[in-house]
């Protein structure tokens, strides 16, 4: 467990010192959302209708932007093979890296969301539901994305391949995330949506680090 925190500490320290990387992801998130009022017009009712969905899609794309570097830098400088040779399971190592990814992007996206929700005229009933679904959904985005990030190791044009691999897997999270918000706004029960989102997270927690570690072992065998 100490080793897990050692790794989390190091990665957090590195991401603090390269602060611009994370700032750029948040800037992308904000800009992508801001583009929509320009595209569909500033009609408050239209914005209120599409706001939650737009914010969710933008969050999903921003989370994916930073995924490419999740294992790539460690792979290129030999750190990853050395991490695989430490007396701890590679799955734990992978889980530590996913945790840091969520702390530096998922959390930051959630922090930026209230401002964007006001901007997109999201109804007050859906406001907290938006934050709650993102809190439940973004960890799953980091977890599932890690499988893609591990699979593209060693390939050229990894970024495009990554989005092709990962985006289809994000669809269920998107559906139930936005579904919960729509249900809250129109006064329908939200419990089932949230339970499915939670269920996806609980399933991804053990499965994704395991699958990513497998893909990394494969990449190191070359």
């Amino acid at each position: 467990m100490n080793r897990f925190f050692t790794l989390v500490r190091r990665d957090l320290k590195m991401s603090m010192r390269q602060g611009m990387d994370n700032v750029m992801v948040i800037m992308f998130f904000v800009l992508a959302v801001i583009l929509f009022p320009f595209g569909v017009g500033p009609e408050p009712t239209i914005l209120a209708r599409i706001g939650a969905g737009v914010i969710w899609v933008a969050a999903l794309l921003s989370a994916m932007l930073s995924l490419e570097r999740l294992f790539q830098t460690d792979f290129e400088d030999g750190s990853l093979e050395l991490l695989a040779l430490q007396p701890m399971a590679l799955e734990i190592t992978v889980f530590a890296k996913i945790t840091v990814h969520w702390l530096t992007t998922g959390m930051a996206l959630i922090a930026a969301t209230p401002l964007l929700a006001i901007f997109m005229n999201v109804p007050s009933d859906g406001f907290w539901m938006l934050v709650l679904t993102l809190a439940l959904g973004t960890p799953s985005l980091s977890l599932i994305g890690a499988i893609g990030a591990a699979l593209i190791l060693g390939s050229r044009r990894g970024g495009v391949l990554l989005s092709l691999l990962v985006l289809p897997l994000y669809i269920p999270i998107l559906i139930f995330g936005v579904g919960a918000i729509d249900a809250a706004v129109s006064g329908f029960p939200i419990r089932s949506h949230l339970m499915i989102l939670g269920g996806l997270l609980v399933a991804a927690l053990p499965l994704c680090p395991w699958a990513s570690a497998g893909a990394i072992r494969q990449a190191l065998e070359t």
Binding site: N2, R3, T6, L7, R10, K13, M14, R17, Q18, D74, E76, D77, G78, S79, E81, L82, L83, A84, L85, Q86, P87, M88, A89, L220, E221
Partner: protein
Amino acid sequence: MLYGVSTMSLFTGTDLLCFRGERVVFTDLAFAINAGDALVLRGHNGSGKSTLLRLLAGLLKAQKGDISWNGENILDEPEQHNQRLHYVGHLDPIKPVLTVRENISFWSELRGHENDVDAALAAFGIMFLCDVPGRFLSAGQKRRVNLARIIASPAPLWLLDEPTTALDTDAILALERAIATHRQSGGMVIASTHTDIGLDSAKTLNLDDFTPTEYAA
């Protein structure tokens, strides 16, 4: 014994066969070393020195044959095997944004030892670099840091792939001293090299001897 390795401890490979792609790299390869031994791998480019070292580290799996430590296959308990080995590959995993000290102490903390970073830095004459971020290091300095990393946390088995790359004569001397100390305290060293490094009574394994005849140069 510093490493808690009994004098009986034995690192062996038997009947190893490995192919990369369609090509057989080596076949029927065998070796055995004891505590305090050094094994130097020699052979042409492409004769499989790096491949063998990656097999011994457990990064690759041999298509045939066993690698065992004290008679126990290394693949049975990979984490135990990781605990007893240090691997130095072609790349130096030095993070550009972390200082030299942070880089080294990260790796020794992962191994769960109380670490002696200062002594390791001093052994390679890079004490003055300890607060310098990795991005300002030259290739030779990076290699020195990478080698200091393996001294900072003790492990009985050193697997060194061309460790002298980019090193100047002073650093090679420091490496020879480090290896000698390591062996005196019961450690083992397996190193591939093209240049001569002074290793007393080292065994040599020439990988060209194990290349299948149809591929021999």
